[in-house]
Symmetry: C2
Subunit: 205 residues, 2 copies
């Protein structure tokens, strides 16, 4: 009931980010209004505008907030073994989202607005660049260690990102529950058939 004895100072910005998250999950992006965020926030719409001048400013801040969270979870991957690290990265990208369907939907909605909102586009590009860099680094590391073929690492990273984005889109658009799992398998096929040196090509079927 009561706040814990040592409550952290309730940062309004943090609270609004959380409220935005809940509102996005509930209503999606197309039906996201300042009023609905304010309802989740527990205050008036003017309270939102007091902290963020426009709706787009708020949403740009929210995308930054999401990007930071993503970077944090990637930092949790401590493994340096290229093969294992690649698997964990692909799991992060293609397995974890299974439990966040609502967010996948809202994010595709926002992504589809990138051509009209430069602030959105920039953030999605930033996120993509970060993820792609992670993949490329693992691939190059694997090449150095001789467990990956001497492939074009940039292209291979892009190929994997295409698979990731394809799976997410299909999960949302077609309501395909196993799109992520199918993509996870496809990514493994790609790694095994194109990247890996020792032909353990048995697992492909």
């Amino acid at each position: 009931m009561a706040d814990p004895p040592e409550h952290t100072a309730p940062d309004p910005n943090e609270e609004i980010m959380r409220a935005t998250y809940r509102a996005l999950r509930k209503h999606g992006y197309a039906d996201l209004t300042i009023k609905r965020i304010a309802e989740e926030y527990g205050k008036s719409t003017a309270a939102i505008h007091y902290h963020y001048e426009t709706k787009d400013d708020l949403l740009a801040a929210y995308l930054d907030y999401l990007l930071d969270q993503f970077v944090d979870t990637v930092r949790d991957i401590k493994t340096t073994d290229p093969e294992e690290r690649m698997e964990l990265l692909l799991d992060k990208l293609l397995v974890d989202p299974v439990d966040h369907q609502d967010m996948l939907i809202a994010m595709l909605e926002m992504r589809s607005q990138a051509p009209y909102k430069e602030a959105f586009c920039e953030r999605f590009q930033q996120n993509d660049e970060y993820t792609r860099y992670m993949l490329k680094a693992v691939i190059n590391h694997g090449i150095d260690e001789g467990i990956f073929e001497n492939v074009d690492a940039e292209h291979a990273a892009r190929a994997l990102m295409i698979i990731v984005d394809g799976a997410r889109t299909r999960t949302v658009v077609l309501d395909e529950e196993d799109a992520l799992a199918t993509a996870r398998r496809t990514a493994d096929e790609y790694v095994t058939a194109i990247l890996s040196t020792e032909e353990a090509a048995d697992g492909i079927e």
Copy 2:
């Protein structure tokens, strides 16, 4: 200036479909209004509502219209040789869209609304099923002729669709001009490394 001597009876439905197409390209889906479609149509908004009860009815009809067009262009592919037919199908899916950026954008916007509009979802599923069936048929044909490995055709078709959808999403969201070309190359790698029997694995690098 004047109409050609033998003008086909101007079918209002067809005219509205064309108007919808132009309005979608100009304004995208999020900013698509009945008024804007009416402007392209050259008549009042009430004229639109005379032919289509609601906005969603019109858009559902438009998706049917698009699906028919797509089926027609696929029918143009006469080749029966599996390898060549696969290449042509992939070109249709990953090369042709280069010249239709505006439509790629509008379509991703509409696709992102599939979770909220059953009528949309159904049509996208239908389109996907058709395309996937085409790919699967080619793969099975190739297997029968011994030029493709005896793989899981259903999975391979789904893998290729993931690549297609990933490329389209990335083209729109990240404004990546070569996302389609990268995906085209990735699809070829997949076909060569996973499907093809004779190892011409030289082209992969």
